[in-house]
């Protein structure tokens, strides 16, 4: 019964557009065993720092290891929760404030599994995936390295 899920491409260059999210939803409308989708979107905040207002984040990653981490997080989530589908997308490069850098899309027959998996997966991504971010601040090209808590 254990299904092996093929590693999927997670990283995208630049922001994730609302249209991309819509297309992902539309693709799941033929899967009529799905009753619940839980979607998480991480959006860049224009936080105020000592150095100025954040205008965006520039992401980089240890890509090979990160893709492997994402794959392990997916496998782990499929084994822990009763899910039909699970997709993760993350930006690389510059994502301006107000735009989306993370898209986690969980689908299941019943809502509880989708809710629990969604929160679990986002926490895992923040803790375990080697992604690095420069918060770009102010108009002068300065920046602050971001750190997840």
């Amino acid at each position: 019964m254990k299904k092996i899920h093929k590693p999927k491409k997670v990283f995208m260059q630049g922001p994730i557009s609302p249209q991309f999210v819509a297309d992902a939803i539309a693709k799941h409308q033929s899967k009529v065993s799905i009753g619940a989708h839980a979607i998480f979107l991480g959006q860049i905040r224009a936080d105020e720092k000592e150095e100025g207002i954040v205008t965006g984040i520039e992401y980089s990653a240890y890509e090979e290891m990160a893709e492997q981490s994402f794959h392990e997080i997916r496998e782990d989530a499929f084994s822990k929760f009763d899910l039909t589908c699970l997709h993760i997308y993350h930006s690389l490069g510059i994502v301006p404030a107000g735009e989306i850098s993370l898209f986690v899309f969980v689908s299941s027959a019943h809502r509880r599994a989708a809710f629990e998996a969604s929160e679990y997966i986002v926490d895992e991504i923040k803790n375990k995936v080697p992604i690095f971010g420069k918060e770009l601040v102010g108009p002068t090209g300065s920046y602050v390295w971001k750190e997840n808590k």
Binding site: M65, A66, H90, I131, F132, W145, K146, N148
Partner: protein
């Protein structure tokens, strides 16, 4: 023949490069290697970072093979 050391984020800024090949003697641990790296790059002393050996996070006791890929990873910021 040597290990490939990768630097990411703020650590790459300190080293001025994304990777280096180091020739090390056999039987070193991550702890030993960190000491050597901090000697070469004293500015890293006050930085938090994890060390991945062949894409697995290691601790100070993890052995480094002389053909390993070692990565120095500053705090994660995904999401």
């Amino acid at each position: 023949m040597g290990i490939n050391i990768l630097y990411f984020g703020m650590l790459a800024e300190i080293t001025g490069q994304a990777n280096e090949i180091w020739t090390i003697k056999d039987g070193l641990t991550v702890g030993d290697l960190k000491k050597l790296i901090l000697e070469r790059y004293p500015k890293m002393r006050d930085k938090k970072f994890k060390v991945a050996v062949d894409q697995q996070i290691g601790d100070d006791q993890t052995f480094v093979s002389i053909q390993s890929e070692v990565a120095l990873l500053p705090p994660f910021a995904g999401g």
